[in-house]
Every structure is written in structure tokens, then in C-alpha cells.
């Protein structure tokens, strides 16, 4: 129920940027794994370039998240149980009821998998040879675990927002699903940019189809999200509309809906309604990334601005 009894958590822009970047890293890793399983040799150049991307991002993300903490020096309390903390079994800190704990641990472990992917890409680039890595990085179990962790990193922030008492965020079960959709969309957008540069025509064609498909799935989820809020009898949609004011409204409609969803749907449709200059797939990818950032911003600040308003 949207209400003004709650206080806003006062999360700032570093959180939005961090979660956007984490989504891009997780989405890129997921798409890399997807191409590994469903693709073939012709996709290898793109797969190996994608492997370079998640790890550097996953170094920046924790720094941004720590920067936003009130007590930056104590971030370790998220992972190692402080002796003064509430009783829990073992030396590690893990509260299964807290999506923030799930996310913290998923990011730490996922970072290790991105390092493996990075080293594997380095190996395939010929710059540094890690022959022993071949068996590890392409192991189905390793890839599956990495994919699973990538999904947790993609979606945990959406679930985290749902598991609050903030209007809009807690009025729907769809935030986690929506965040996964837009994370995977951003990952496929990165694949579009890379495949436009180094990919074969076959890879670029598959990425076009996948990006269109991901945009369609994301659009369906977004529509269900809005309809779900509208059908609640407590004014949840009104709360969202009220909160989508000033700067947030154009960011949502132009950025999240226009750039992230409509651009790929109109440009990459089997019967394109619009065309990019020279048919550039990379341009579509860049626009989608900007749109996904706008989506994160709008979702994040809608409830906060509603409460503060």
C-alpha cells in the first residue's frame, strides 16, 4: 500500500550507478554463457570479447556501494560477522531474510567467476597463456554456477526494493523480474555493440533476434507491472504517477520506455519500423544501455521522491 508513514532510505546516485553497472556485468556474463551454450565457433570472437567486460565492472561496483554506506570502513560487517552482532551460526554474516545479504555474497562469489572469464578471454586473445584454464572456464558446471550467480546479481536489487515497506516498490512482486529483464537487456546490448565491431554476420543476426526478444519480454513485464499497480484498489498506480514527476517522468518515459524498449522493438523487428544510420547495431546497443540506466534511475527514485514529496 502506498503510504507516507515510512521514511525514505535516502539512497543516493552511487547506488543507482552501482546497481546499473552490476546489472550490465551480470547481463554480459549471462549472454556470454548463453552464446557459449547455444552458439558455435562463429560466435567465438564475440564471446571472448564479452569475457573481458564483467570483471573490471565488478571491481568498480563494490567501491560505489561502499562509498554510499554511512560507515564505509565497516563494509566487512556484511560478510564477516562482527563479534558484537546478533547471534548467528559461524563466523560469516548471512541473514537469509535479507536480500542485501544475498546480493553481497552473490557479488563476491560472482566476481570470482568474472575473473575466470577475464583470464579465459586473455588466454584466447593470445596475450597471456593460461592453458590450464581451458578446462575450467568452459566447464559446464562452472558456467552454470556463474550463470546462476549472474542472475542473483541481476535480480537481487529488485527483490531488495520489493522487500521494503516503500510505496510502489513493495506493492508488486515484479521488481525482481523486471530488474532481471533489464539487466539481461543491457547484457545483450553490450553483445550488440561488440558483435557490430567483431562479430560475424551470423552472430550479429542472432544478437539482433535476441535483443528484440529480450526487449519484447521486458516490455511485457513492464506492462504487467503497471497494470498490476493500476488494478490494486489502494492507489498504487496513482502513487507511481505522482512519483513520476519532474525529472523522473521524462527519464522513465523517454529513457526506460523509449530507448530501452521501443528502439530495439522498432529497429530490430522482423519488419523494421525505424532504421539506424548504416543499420548500426552498436547504436541500438548504446541507446538501450542509456535506456536501462534511465529505468534504474526512474524505478529507484520514484518511490523515494514519492515519500519525500
Amino acid at each position: 500500500m502506498p503510504d507516507k508513514y515510512v521514511l525514505p532510505p535516502e539512497w543516493e546516485w552511487p547506488i543507482t550507478i552501482a546497481l546499473f553497472l552490476a546489472g550490465v556485468a551480470a547481463g554480459t556474463y549471462s549472454v556470454m554463457g548463453l552464446m557459449h551454450w547455444a552458439g558455435d565457433k562463429r560466435d567465438a570472437p564475440v564471446i571472448h570479447r564479452l569475457g573481458f567486460i564483467p570483471m573490471p565492472i565488478m571491481i568498480v561496483v563494490p567501491l560505489l556501494l561502499i562509498y554510499d554506506l554511512g560507515q564505509q570502513g565497516r563494509f566487512i560487517n556484511l560478510l564477516i560477522r562482527n563479534p558484537a552482532a546478533a547471534e548467528r551460526p559461524g563466523p560469516l554474516m548471512f541473514n537469509p531474510n535479507s536480500p542485501m545479504n544475498w546480493g553481497s555474497w552473490a557479488m563476491v562469489i560472482f566476481a570470482a567467476f568474472t575473473a575466470i572469464a577475464f583470464a579465459d578471454s586473455l588466454h584466447h586473445s593470445g596475450r597471456i597463456r593460461f592453458g590450464w584454464l581451458e578446462g575450467v572456464s568452459h566447464n559446464t558446471v562452472v558456467l552454470a554456477l556463474g550463470e546462476l550467480l549472474a542472475l542473483v546479481v541481476s535480480g537481487y536489487s529488485g527483490v531488495l526494493l520489493s522487500v521494503t515497506n516503500q510505496g510502489v516498490w513493495s506493492d508488486t512482486f515484479l521488481m525482481g523480474g523486471l530488474f532481471i529483464c533489464f539487466s539481461e537487456l543491457s547484457g545483450m546490448a553490450v553483445a550488440a555493440i561488440v558483435s557490430d565491431r567483431v562479430g560475424t554476420a551470423v552472430t550479429a543476426g542472432a544478437v539482433r533476434r535476441a535483443l528484440f526478444g529480450f526487449a519484447a519480454v521486458s516490455a511485457v513485464f513492464l506492462i504487467i507491472f503497471l497494470v498490476g499497480l493500476a488494478t490494486q484498489q489502494d492507489g498504487s498506480l496513482a502513487a507511481l504517477v505522482a512519483s513520476l514527476h519532474e525529472f523522473v517522468a521524462p527519464v522513465f518515459w523517454i529513457g526506460a520506455v523509449g530507448l530501452a524498449l521501443l528502439v530495439p522493438l522498432l529497429v530490430l523487428s522482423p519488419r523494421p519500423v525505424m532504421r539506424t544510420p548504416n543499420g548500426s547495431l552498436a547504436l541500438v546497443g548504446v541507446l538501450v544501455l542509456v535506456g536501462v540506466l534511465a529505468f534504474r534511475y526512474a524505478m529507484f527514485f520514484s518511490a523515494i521522491s514519492f515519500v519525500q514529496g
Binding site: L34, H36, A85, A210
Partner: protein, 303 residues
């Protein structure tokens, strides 16, 4: 007798003297602070940093106001008209409710928030990292981020006083016994007796917010006159609970407060479904047409 300790807040005898607020500030050595609008830089700049419409100058609970006496001014039966007949002021001394199922405690990722032996919810200040997740999770807007210390603060039910056998400072200072500290079971019995006594006197709008003790009645004055009210139990019960004379929303209390965890499993489930749908969509995009291509060119599988 249970070890649970709490407070019963009888709003029907609160005079709004704010002695409880002052006692809380004194005992916990908190700075006087400023009303909410003073924190608004634009309001300060424009010399509007004062509520100006009420004797309530605290505004709401915050990191430096762990107790707040609310002034609810019902001037006339319909606020939209100039009818000033039958006015009434409702007062309520508000604080952390020390919920039996506390949303803040449930989501805390570091174990900084914990349940004491008295059933209250306290904060290990040395463990809190200032992530502010608990702020968004509290259904009552109680726990707040302290910009100065980078941690969260709220009423801790005078844990230090309880450990040496004293009651809470606010209850000690209350001159009308509107705030009563004690064992929760005893307080519930006392509250039930008080509601029944008020009903017997014709004040049928009294009911309990925090526990369902089976009382119900009708509001006798104000804009909601005639509306039915009944005891409300929220988040498994409140160790600090209230006797109210109007709807919970009038006092700034949610009628249906809930644990944030209610969304955890459904939200995670939907996330899994979306992941599965996207996985199938992606696989289909990369597999499509390749079966035929692979049959024609027979490229080596895998990379």
C-alpha cells in the same frame, strides 16, 4: 510472568505536555535538534523553517527525536468548511513500537539490529554500517539515518535503564500516566480494562492499536464520527501499543502494517520465472536457423 517489557500509551489522557520528549532527550543525551523543515535548506533560506501551523514543532520521529508527541487538530466536523463547532485535539506520544516481528531487524544485513532479553529491538552502534535498508523496511517510519554519525537511530526502550531495574525515562516523566511501562501481559490486561471503562462511560471510540483484544466501537467526534473501529493487531503485535480514539491513519499509523518479508519469496519466484523466459528467448534466438546452417556447413560445436 513473561520477560517481555513494553509500554501502553493511553492517548485518551495525553495532554501533549512533551515531558516524555524532554526526558528521552535528556536521558539519551541527544541534541535539541530542529523540526523537519529546518533540515530543508530552501526553507531555512526563505525563513520558513518552522511548522507554524501547530504546537507540534518536532514534525516526526528522527535520528535525534526518538519520541515525538503528535498533535492532531480536528477543528470542526469537516476540515473543508469553516464550521469550528465541536473541535478536539488528539495527542499521541509516538516512538518505536518494538514489534514482535520487526521489519528492521529482519532485513538488517549485519546483525546490528537485535532482539534484547526484554523483547525490545536495540541497535549495536558498533556494528551498523549505515546501509539504511532498515529505514525503508520499517512500516511506521521510526528508524532513521543519522547523517552526523552515519548510522541509524531509534528508541531502544531505555535498554540501559532496564538492565538496572528502572523503567523507561519517558514513562517516568509522564505526569498523567498516559505512558505506562511494564510487563507486556500486564499492560495488555490494563489496556483492556481501560477500554472497557471508557466504553462504560460512553466513550465508545476507544480501541487498542497493536493487539487484538476483541474491543470494537464507534467514533464519537471529529470528521470520522460514526465510523466503526476495532482493535488492530499488526506485525504479530506491538510491545509498545496504543489506545486510540480515531482511525489509525488519523494518528499517522498504518492500518495494515506488514513485514517487508511478505514479498521475498513471491518476488524471487517471479525473478526466476523471468530468468527462465529470457533464457528460452535467448536460446531460441541463437539456435534459430542454425540447425539448418549447421547441417549444411557442419561447423565444430562449442567454443
Amino acid at each position: 510472568m513473561s520477560d517481555l517489557r513494553g509500554m501502553f500509551v493511553d492517548t485518551s489522557i495525553c495532554t501533549g505536555c512533551k515531558a516524555c520528549q524532554v526526558a528521552c532527550k535528556q536521558w539519551n543525551e541527544m541534541a535539541p535538534g530542529v523540526p523537519l523543515p529546518m533540515e530543508d535548506e530552501a526553507a531555512v533560506r526563505d525563513h520558513r523553517a518552522f511548522t507554524g501551523n501547530s504546537y507540534d514543532n518536532t514534525g516526526h520521529l528522527s535520528a535525534t527525536n526518538w519520541r515525538h508527541v503528535k498533535f492532531i487538530e480536528q477543528i470542526g466536523p469537516d476540515p473543508s468548511t469553516n464550521d469550528r463547532s465541536d473541535p478536539r485535539w488528539l495527542m499521541m506520544s509516538d516512538s518505536c513500537k518494538h514489534c514482535a516481528q520487526a521489519g528492521c531487524l529482519e532485513v538488517c544485513p549485519t546483525g546490528a539490529l537485535y532482539r534484547t532479553q526484554y523483547g525490545s529491538v536495540d541497535i549495536h552502534q558498533d556494528v551498523c554500517i549505515g546501509c539504511r535498508y532498515c529505514v525503508g523496511a520499517c512500516p511506521f517510519g521510526v528508524i532513521a539515518f543519522n547523517q552526523r554519525t552515519g548510522r541509524v537511530n531509534k528508541c531502544i526502550l531505555c535498554q540501559d535503564r532496564l538492565e538496572i531495574g528502572m523503567g523507561t525515562a519517558c514513562a517516568k516523566a509522564c505526569p498523567t500516566s498516559s505512558l505506562t511501562f511494564g510487563a507486556v501481559d500486564d499492560l495488555k490486561a490494563m489496556a483492556n480494562d481501560r477500554v472497557k471503562a471508557l466504553h462504560a462511560r460512553g466513550q465508545t471510540d476507544a480501541y487498542i492499536y497493536g493487539w487484538d483484544l476483541g474491543n470494537s466501537g464507534k467514533i464519537t467526534a471529529g470528521p470520522n464520527k460514526g465510523a466503526a473501529v476495532q482493535d488492530v493487531e499488526v506485525v504479530g503485535g506491538l510491545n509498545v501499543f496504543y489506545l486510540l480514539l480515531d482511525k489509525p491513519e488519523v494518528y499517522g499509523l498504518p492500518a495494515h502494517a506488514a513485514l517487508p518479508q511478505r514479498n521475498f519469496v513471491p518476488s524471487a519466484g517471479v525473478a526466476l520465472i523471468s530468468a527462465a523466459v529470457l533464457g528460452v528467448t535467448g536460446l531460441a534466438a541463437f539456435r534459430r536457423n542454425r540447425m539448418a546452417e549447421n547441417a549444411a556447413t557442419a561447423p565444430e560445436a562449442g567454443v
